[in-house]
């Protein structure tokens, strides 16, 4: 198989790729050619990258509603998001902010990939996004009308705006994505699962799959619900509120937004001379089979098994991994168990770990998708960004947190995520060799 075209290589050195299930010949491979970020870190990949490399914290007091009466008052909001720039008037009235964020991220991803906004071959393009809480704000407004109003009615759009498939349905109409589509929920882990499912879909014959996730859990009711998880930070000072792996860690800051990707069949991408960020080479999901509670910490062995399976599926060894982007829940017992899982996989020679969730807050499934964006940009821009903390690692959380930027060597990244009530996912990405380095590599 041709390994380079248009000046890029989708896969570099390293052992041959493991025979892939569902595609034993391995002739349909999935690469990422477009990234759309709409997150507290900014709108667009450049804004996101500036936030990540600059270590700039973007969380702050919640402004989408008055959080005064709630124990959690800090959140991660998308700065200067104007839905009307991405969504027409008719769609605006029938969609939740979560869907509007998805519209923006998808439009940015398509433009970034150099693809047209409407699929030229609709049945060959598809969309699979993750969504863990649907159209909260829209739903709360309609519940308020139903129970607080004079008649027991809701608006005509409630039935299409609140449910979890609303964003994917609207996007399929707007962009004419008519291939096999999906909506996944695995709490925060599903952002990674959506990319894995994009690869399954591509291996079965679809050329372009939009994947990723956006979320908007910042409505009064959604916050009230999240408070019951027992995992939210109640620290009022934004700089101190979300400090994963640190001695002062005390929960996470909720956030909105996320990232959407254009995942494309490799030959399809090469044929049009597309810029390739990297290939999705491995993935795995496992479940702890234990509920999350005040005394649980997640099962490091089951989490480690997901990481190992993903690496094996990618044909990558632990030694090859350049960068780990962890889940970084920010709850001490979960941070410790994540560190334990990483040590179980990587032993005495752990790869650098870099996390930026403290800068943006945790946007649930959108947050794990955002970590994929960071990892792909790191590989593509030839810079592993320094980790945004911990300043003072908690006992048991001593990992090789990247203190200064570094160049990747083998261009393999492992992104990890966990979801409430026992979900574990891992995704392996292999970066394309950047054009300027390919001659000397």
């Amino acid at each position: 198989m041709t390994r380079s075209a248009a000046g890029v290589t989708a896969a570099g050195s390293g052992p041959p790729r493991a025979t892939a299930p569902g595609d034993p010949e391995g002739d349909r491979r999935a690469v990422v050619t477009g990234i759309g970020v709409v997150a507290p870190s900014g709108i667009g990949v450049d804004a996101h990258w500036r936030t990540v490399t600059g270590g700039i914290r973007r969380t702050g007091p919640i402004t989408l509603f008055d959080p005064t009466g709630y124990p959690t008052r800090v959140g991660g909001e998308v700065p200067d998001f104007h839905p009307a720039a991405y969504v027409d008037t008719r769609q605006l009235v029938q969609t939740d902010r979560w869907t509007q964020l998805g519209f923006a991220a998808t439009a940015l991803a398509l433009a970034d990939a150099g693809l047209p906004p409407r699929a030229p071959d609709p049945y060959d393009w598809a969309v699979t996004l993750a969504s863990s809480s649907g159209g909260n704000l829209f739903g709360q407004r309609e519940l308020q009308r139903l129970w607080g109003g004079s008649s027991r009615t809701v608006g005509a759009y409630q039935s299409i705006a609140w449910f979890y498939a609303a964003s994917v349905g609207q996007l399929s109409i707007h962009h004419q994505f008519k291939g096999p589509s999906g909506v996944l929920v695995a709490e925060a882990a599903g952002g990674l699962d959506s990319l894995a499912h994009a690869v399954r879909t591509i291996r079965r014959g679809t050329s372009v799959v939009i994947a990723g996730a956006t979320e908007c859990p910042l409505s009064p009711y959604a916050l009230a619900c999240q408070l019951r998880s027992g995992l939210l930070s109640t620290v009022d000072e934004p700089a101190a509120a979300y400090r994963p792996f640190d001695r002062v860690a005390g929960g996470y800051v909720p956030a909105e937004g996320g990232a959407v990707f254009v995942v494309e069949e490799r030959e399809h991408a090469l044929a049009r001379g597309a810029r390739i960020y990297g290939e999705v080479t491995g993935w795995a999901a496992t479940h702890d089979a234990v509920h999350t509670g005040p005394d649980t910490a997640g099962d490091p062995a089951t989490y480690a098994r997901a990481m190992r399976l993903a690496l094996a599926r990618a044909g990558s060894t632990a030694e090859e991994v350049d960068l780990v982007v962890p889940d970084a829940l920010g709850v001490p017992r979960y941070d410790r168990s994540e560190a334990t899982a990483l040590r179980a996989v990587f032993g005495d020679r752990p790869p650098p770990v870099s996390t930026h969730k403290s800068l943006t807050g945790r946007a649930h499934q959108g947050g794990s998708a955002l970590d994929v964006a960071t990892a792909l940009l790191a590989l593509h821009r030839d810079t592993l960004p320094a980790s945004a903390g911990p300043v003072d690692p908690a006992p048991g959380c001593e990992l090789d947190f990247l203190r200064a930027p570094r160049r990747p060597v083998s261009r393999v990244a492992l992104v990890c995520a966990r979801g409430f009530d026992g979900f574990n996912s891992a995704l392996v990405l292999r970066g394309a060799i950047p054009r300027q380095r390919s001659a000397t590599d």
């Binding site: 299409i160 449910f163 399954r200 619900c225 979900f423």
Partner: protein, 422 residues
């Protein structure tokens, strides 16, 4: 592909008119309807006051008090179905098998009913926009995130393989089984509890469908309100329920001498990219989904011996899918029995796709096709054999089931009797 195949070795059902697999099948084959006036709350303020409710007893289903407190009603349904399906499969999982045993469940609206009930409390019946979080129940977060559905089933049975919730509206059930099928075929799991659950019978859901006049207002005759393919249909009847199938890798099932209902032979899905709730009468995308499923199964349209229709009982659906069957099946469309069990058990949104797949597995098992109940008057636009009112004994080698949902999703799945393929 890898040569790995997925078979169905266990079936569990919670449906209106029949909680448990056997009672469900008895309801269907007797052509009994389970639609009635809503009893869960006073439905009088609403346009549609009817639904198909499950007479579900959590105690009889073996749920512990802790499970009943933690899990919303739709999750309880799934727990009951999963236990029934696992028992039916005869699987006694080893630790090694638990690592390759997953859960993939669909739901359209997840914890909506619980979220609404809690909202009434925390907002003081809609008086406060800034709701009082302190009044929320201990499991409010589990209600917000429908991933609880897969998590609770994985926790109850100690399953450590991939767990996922698929939420593509009214095709969630078929799509969840389709996702599970891919996990088995691709070697990501050997065993998957696959299915779907929904318990949407609550004021907000009823009002949502009132607002777009999608549900039947035939409040005077609830037992005959769900009338798919009948000229006098008036919309669908909301329902609740769940079904879970044990999908098992074929060699794994064969080695242990398991009873096999059928093979999951093919799955296809397409979106119409047309409208969030509207359907074009041409049925193009549903036809393409059926064609994709047939291609994957390497089956000719003439091999299809039963079609489990979406058959929601709206005029646009009935025309749309009748056209889709003609497109995808050609002349076979006119001679194959086509029926909609929604005429009896209503439309349980995401769950019904899985319940209909359970019916397909049982149709293959028993050689009986369930009828379309309440069919009295022929609609000139719907001119296929809808198996009116009375179940039909006929061998079923290949069953096709389709689903169509808000968002434009169209999905199709084929089950095949195993003997036919060997």
């Amino acid at each position: 592909m890898t040569g790995r195949r997925a078979v169905v070795t266990g079936v569990g059902v919670v449906a209106p008119g029949g909680v448990t697999r056997d009672r469900f099948w008895k309801t269907l084959t007797e052509g009994r309807t389970a639609t009635r006036r809503i009893s869960f709350f006073d439905p009088s303020p609403y346009r549609s006051q009817i639904a198909a409710e499950c007479d579900f007893d959590p105690d009889a289903a073996g749920l512990t008090p802790a499970q009943r407190q933690r899990s919303d009603r739709y999750v309880q349904f799934a727990l009951a179905c999963a236990a029934e399906a696992l028992a039916d499969s005869g699987l006694d999982l080893t630790d090694a098998e638990r690592d390759v045993a997953g859960v993939v469940l669909g739901t359209a609206v997840g914890g909506t009913t619980a979220l609404e009930q809690e909202y009434v409390r925390v907002s003081d019946s809609g008086r406060h926009w800034l709701v009082d979080h302190a009044l929320g129940g201990p499991y409010l977060y589990q209600a917000l995130v429908p991933s609880s559905l897969a998590a609770d089933v994985a926790c109850r049975h100690g399953l450590h393989g991939p767990a996922q919730v698929v939420s593509t509206g009214c095709t969630s059930g078929i799509d969840a089984i389709g996702y599970a099928h891919q996990l088995v075929v691709d070697g990501e799991a050997d065993i998957v509890l696959a299915g779907a659950a929904d318990s949407p019978i609550s004021p907000v859901t009823v009002a949502s469908f009132d607002a777009i006049r999608a549900t039947s207002p035939d409040n005077d005759d609830p037992g005959h309100a769900s009338r798919p393919f009948d000229a006098h249909r008036q919309g669908f009847v909301l329902a609740e329920g769940a079904a879970v199938l044990v999908l098992e890798e074929w060699e794994h099932a064969r080695r242990r001498g398991a009873h096999v209902y059928c093979e999951v032979a093919g799955y296809g899905s397409r979106s119409n990219g047309f409208h969030m709730t509207g359907l074009r009468p041409d049925g193009v995308e549903m036809g393409l989904a059926i064609a994709a499923a047939l291609r994957q199964a390497r089956l000719d349209p003439s091999a299809v011996s039963y079609v489990s229709a979406h058959g929601s009982g709206t005029r646009q659906n009935d025309r749309h899918e009748t056209a889709a069957f003609k497109r995808a099946l050609g002349p076979t469309a006119y001679r194959v029995p086509v029926s909609s069990i929604k005429s009896m058990v209503g439309h349980s949104l995401g769950a019904i796709g899985a319940i209909e797949m359970a019916a397909c597995a049982l149709a293959i098992e028993y050689g009986v096709v369930p009828p379309t109940a309440n069919w009295t008057t022929r609609d000139p636009e719907c001119d296929l054999d809808y198996v009116p009112n009375v179940a039909r004994e006929t061998p079923v080698d290949v069953a096709l089931s389709v689903g169509s949902g808000f968002g434009g999703f169209q999905s199709a799945m084929l089950f095949r009797r195993l003997a036919v393929t060997r």
